[in-house]
């Protein structure tokens, strides 16, 4: 019998693989299993939905039923895979049901990191990593005024901008000295900070959150620097951790993510991983563009034409309307120096190695106009 390709996960990665595979092979049986509702939606839209006037419902482009018929795929929603039996090539569901696969694609995403905080308000801290989380968050926001955000990374800054522009009072706490500390140099961070402050965001840098206590109807954050912040709602966005547990228990190689090579193949020839859960040739890149490239290559491989994924330079747009920002951070293990030009209109920060090769950039404000020219000069992320 011809066992299906089983895709676990209905995020952008799972759907991208299904869609690309269908383009190449109209008939191969495809089964998509999802722990959630299985609807197709754009996760990046969650952090600017207020500005774009979107509700959680309107973000969902197509429900599972519509997607199943559009892509000619079987979809089982609210169906969590709890284990993989690679010897018998089956996945085991929560209800103990076993499903056979010909090839298995893990597209199970990442968890939001939870900081070890003290206090009786910790269970009230929100994280937003999918549209269901976002629905709870939006419901909680109704009628409230003050939001505290832990973490000034990409997602924290985007939510801060979106909420502040919608009239919320927003405090943001980060242990770094600037926003986007891992992506952009200090001068660029200072510029972004100033632009976000201009729309009302209040930053608390160089300090960590120690406790979240519920006091009356509010939450009170106590920071390591002794300050306290009162908020109606607390959102934590301090980073992502690929979901690796199930793969590890199945005996697959894991590191920061589920370890795969450029074929997106794990150390089992019939199991692949893609998206936020995967570490592709040593890189964990939790963004849309790498998913699009990986899904195309993987679909070709699954259709019988082994195709290694290659990543071009893949700049990321930061959705902070208060300060247009696009970043292409250099590899963390690459040595080099930032050269920064900055004025009132923006910041152009270019990262060069000692032979004068451009390895990365951060462009803010008007400088984003140089994006296309600079992208053409960057080396590929994965050749």
């Amino acid at each position: 019998m011809n066992h299906p390709v089983v895709i676990v996960g209905s995020g952008l990665a799972g759907y991208a693989v299904a869609r690309e595979l269908r383009r190449l092979d109209a008939d191969q049986p495809l089964l998509l299993l999802s722990a959630d509702h299985g609807g197709f939606y754009s996760k990046p839209m969650l952090s600017n939905a207020l500005a774009t006037g979107k509700t959680p419902e309107s973000i969902i482009n197509g429900d599972a039923e519509k997607m199943a018929s559009q892509l000619n795929v079987s979809i089982r929603t609210y169906t969590r895979v709890v284990a993989i039996d690679k010897t018998n090539r089956t996945v085991i569901l929560k209800n103990n049901e076993q499903l056979s696969y010909g090839n298995l694609v893990l597209a199970i995403g990442a968890d939001q990191v939870r900081l070890p905080l003290q206090g009786n308000g910790v269970s009230k801290v929100f994280t937003v990593n999918d549209v269901d989380d976002y629905k709870h968050f939006r419901d909680a926001l109704a009628g409230k005024k003050k939001v505290a955000i832990i973490g000034a990374g990409l997602i924290g800054c985007e939510f801060a901008n979106d909420l502040a522009s919608a009239g919320y009072h927003v405090d943001v706490v980060d242990i770094a000295a600037q926003p986007l500390g891992r992506l952009i140099p200090p001068a660029a961070g200072a510029y972004l900070k100033q632009k976000l402050e201009a729309v009302g965001v209040v930053f608390h840098f160089d300090t960590s959150t120690q406790s979240v206590e519920q006091i009356d109807n509010q939450l009170c954050l106590t920071l390591a620097n002794g300050k306290t912040i009162r908020a109606d709602i607390v959102l934590s966005s301090v980073g992502l951790k690929p979901r690796t547990k199930m793969a590890q228990e199945a005996g697959l190689q894991i590191n920061r993510g589920i370890v795969v090579d450029q074929l997106l193949q794990t150390n089992d020839a019939h199991i692949y991983a893609v998206g936020d859960c995967a570490e592709v040739a040593g890189k964990v890149l939790p963004f849309v563009m790498p998913i699009t490239h990986a899904a195309r290559a993987l679909a070709a491989t699954l259709a019988g034409n082994p195709t290694p994924v290659r990543y071009p330079a893949m700049p990321v747009l930061v959705k902070t309307p208060a300060c247009s920002t696009v970043v292409s951070p250099p590899d963390a293990d690459k040595a080099g120096v930032w050269q920064v030009e900055s004025n009132d209109d923006g910041v152009k920060a270019l990262f060069y190695d000692d032979t004068g090769c451009l390895l990365g950039f951060a462009l803010l404000g008007k400088a984003i106009m140089d994006k296309n020219d600079l992208v053409a000069k960057l080396p590929p992320v994965l050749a």
Partner: protein, 54 residues
């Protein structure tokens, strides 16, 4: 001239502006963009993710 928005990343394709960096001249109507074109910001295929007219 119309504008279209990528429903994954929010990129706006403005027919008046085109996407010259990727070989699409200013003034190119949405219908005339080749199927091989992908969203410059998130890489999704033109055919797969219909842009919505805005």
């Amino acid at each position: 001239m119309k504008k279209y928005q990528c429903n994954i990343c929010g990129f706006i394709y403005d027919e008046a502006v085109g996407d010259p960096a990727h070989g699409i001249k200013a003034g190119t109507s949405w219908e005339d963009i080749p199927e091989s074109w992908a969203c410059p910001d998130c890489g999704v295929n033109k055919a797969d993710f219909e842009m919505v007219e805005i």
